[in-house]
Amino acid sequence: MAKFLKNRELLLVGAIAVLLALITWRFPPFVAPANLARVYNDTSILIILALGQMAVILTRCIDLSMAANLALSGMVAAMLNAAFPGLPIPLIMLAAIALGALLGMINGALVWKLDIPPIVVTLGTLTIYRGLIFLLTDGKWINAHQMSDAFKALPRDALFGFPVLSWLSLVMIGLVFLLMNRTALGRAFYAVGGNPHAAVYTGIDVGRTRFSAYCLSGALAGLSGYLWVSRYAVAYVDIAAGFELDIIAACVIGGISIAGGIGTVAGAVLGALFLGVIKNALPVINISPFAQMAISGTVIIIAVAVNARAERRKGRVILRKAEAV
């Protein structure tokens, strides 16, 4: 039991199971496979974003600009589509990813080359990126009728019975899992956040690694930008406003330590799903959807308290007999 409690991911699976059980008690159809698949699909974008945020937080940084990046990349994707309806969708998607990565690079470069604290950099770029949307559009919306059918259809198209959006998020989970666990860069994220001083001795360039993390979070925000705009078939200045906090919440709930170096892909995904389940369950069990915010706030506080307990360092053990125990 103690060991079970120590494993953050299992604990989170348990928490989600309890949550689902409670919901089922009030509203049994919620756990129907088709509904669960719908909930997953609805959470897909949050999952993709949480993966990027995780990489950044692992390196002891934070990216508050992800939602603004998403909105700007999404808007540019929508404008491209509106201006050149013939442009192939994969190309638009690539453009959104590239733009997102570029915006991430700006964050990363400011953190790396100028040593500005990450929270200040992304606080600044958060307002700049969103402001740029306004400059681009003059505040005008791009509505469903201005987008091509293919543009809007892609995330919804079914592939083997599931929407492309769900598949895309699964692919991203797989890719980020490989990156985190099977590549030198992924392990460098952990090393830089866990002990930047030792990372230098190991020959890891701390600044460059952080830069890479921001590129990743930017690229994933760019991809999410296209997905968001096409899924909801509308683009305007304020899309996903405040969503950066949901992304961070998903990571914190998923056991990713804000102090860096600790966290897993499974944790980020589960943290996002936890929020997704709550969001989708509230209306069906007759709790006002307005309660969602307070609930996620409470969950963040509980999660950070639980994480802190798990991370608390044991005092130095000097007495032999204490070591034996």
Binding site: Y190, N195, V200, Y201, G203
Partner: protein
């Protein structure tokens, strides 16, 4: 003699020539040369602040020298980064092991050069198998998949050694590797050094313990004040000579210990214990006395002192000051009752380097210099002037940030800060660690004067000359317990070392 002819014919694995390095205000190394030979252990000896750690950082690519050359296998090389040094086969094992607590043992060994499969992805299976083999070679029976934070400091050292083996390093730097190890672990480490030697590695062994230097080193190099003062074969040198070379003067003559009439007990500690750090601490401290606390690094001395002033809570124990029972729950209560602690880690616990000198000095005494909570700068400057003058501080102005001072002058500010509270008992934890000889002498002289004025002093130190030169009595701690008590009259270095290391007195 055979050894000598051997090494003189052998080519050095790495050779430093004319290395210099300066930092703002300090010349850390000047014109230093050092050669390390394959299959040979070179002991690097020097006091704290002699430039040893700067040399290690240059060898491992953390610092770049201002001048001089480094040759590996007779080729001139540059180590612009740590990675470059590692690629050239130079690796270091540090006293405070610099590894990653949250990663597995195997990954700590292979971080940066993990085995890949044919898709270029990290091959965890091979990584764990290889790690197991390397750990076996290092003499460690460890599960490579457990997290490093679950290991003790000795096991972490073994992981660091396995890491050195994994990069096939030709030059292995061991920076006080036995400082935190138990007796048994130390012997295991010696065996490992022998194995590395047999493998033809060139080893630089940094240590303060003469017994181990004579036991495992083949050659020695002595540093003093950033210069290399002597080198040669261990077989040709005596311990006394090494000490003389290191200190640059005969031990004993330089300590300005004043004869003081020791008064009544001031501080009495009885039955002090903590669940994991120390137990059974009982002692008395008298007026005008300097009580030395000796022990190896990690013997629990600092932990006990910090508990005494309320940073951590003991599980049991009583403290009496002038006969009154005291309950100290925080440093502020300790200061108010007249017990102050000058911590060991100057940068982290002692000085506030971003604030000016006068604000550092007055911080614990603000209630005296201020009026009803409002600052009185004139009083603050007066207090700061008085105490910095008594410690012979060298600074441009009292408004200067402490961070701009040299280590020795920072230490004077830190000591001034706690003295300004007018304590009855002052605990100095490694008061001269890492400061230059001039400042060291000033601190010692001042300590003597304080005791002569009737202050009671506890001095925690790991330097035998300092302990022997300054203390009226010495308590030795080992593994969280008191392992010996000695009066000044019957102090010998050998007794201290034996008590600290837990070696029985020879019959």
């Amino acid at each position: 003699m055979l050894q000598d002819t051997l090494t003189s014919r052998m080519k050095p694995a790495i050779a430093l020539e004319g290395i210099s390095k300066s930092f703002p205000g300090v010349k850390a190394l000047s014109d230093v040369s050092l050669s390390l030979y394959p299959g040979s252990v070179t002991a690097l000896i020097g006091e704290n602040g002699a430039g040893k750690s700067t040399l290690v950082k240059i060898l491992t690519g953390i610092y770049q020298p201002d001048g001089g050359t480094i040759r590996v296998a007779e080729q001139e090389v540059h180590f612009p980064t740590a990675l470059a040094a590692a690629r050239a086969g130079v690796t270091a094992i540090h006293q405070e092991t610099v590894l990653f607590d949250e990663l597995s043992v195997a990954e700590n060994i292979f971080l940066g050069h993990a085995p890949r499969n044919r898709f270029g992805l990290i091959d965890w299976k091979k990584l764990n198998t290889d790690a197991r083999a390397l750990l076996a070679r290092a003499g460690a029976d460890l599960d490579p998949t457990i997290r490093l934070r679950d290991l003790g400091i000795a096991k972490k050292h073994l992981v660091a050694i396995a890491r050195a083996l994994s990069v096939d390093a030709q030059v292995v730097i061991m920076d006080e590797p036995t400082a935190a190890l138990s007796h048994k672990e130390i012997h295991e480490l010696y065996a490992l050094v022998e194995r590395l030697k047999a493998d033809g590695k060139a080893i630089l062994f940094i240590s303060h313990k003469f017994d181990e230097i004579f036991r495992i080193a083949d050659r020695y190099t002595v540093f003093r004040d950033g210069t290399m003062v002597d080198e040669g074969l261990i077989a040709d040198v005596s311990q006394d000579e090494l000490v003389r070379l290191m200190v640059g003067r005969a031990v004993g003559s330089v300590y300005p210990k004043k004869e003081v009439v020791i008064g009544a007990p001031v501080l009495t500690v009885s039955g002090y214990r903590h669940p994991t750090e120390f137990e059974d601490i009982n002692f008395e401290l008298r007026r005008g006395e300097i009580l030395g606390f000796y022990g190896l690094v990690g013997a629990g001395r600092s932990e006990f002192m910090q508990s005494l002033i309320g940073v951590t809570r003991p599980s049991a124990g009583a403290v009496r000051l002038d006969g009154e029972v005291l309950v100290i729950r925080s440093p502020s209560e300790a200061i108010r009752s007249g017990i102050v602690y000058v911590p060991e880690e100057r940068g982290r616990q002692g000085a506030i380097i971003g604030l000016p000198i006068f604000q550092n000095v007055t911080l614990p005494s603000l209630s005296r210099t201020s009026r009803s909570g409002f600052l009185k700068l004139a009083n603050e400057f007066a207090l700061a002037r008085e105490y910095t003058a008594r410690l012979d501080l060298r600074a441009a102005s009292l408004d200067q940030d402490v961070g701009t001072l040299s280590g020795g002058n920072q230490q004077k500010v830190v000591i001034a800060k706690w003295l300004a509270t007018k304590p009855k008992v002052i605990i100095l934890d490694e008061p001269t660690k890492g400061i230059d000889i001039g400042s060291k002498a000033a601190v010692h002289a001042f300590m003597s004067e304080l005791a002569a004025q009737g202050l009671s002093v506890i001095m925690v130190s790991s330097e035998i000359p300092e302990i022997m030169g300054m203390s009226d009595r010495v308590i030795v701690m080992r593994e969280g317990r008191i392992a010996g008590r000695f009066e000044r009259a019957d102090l010998t270095a050998e007794k201290l070392v034996r008590a600290a290391a837990g070696i029985q007195e020879a019959a």
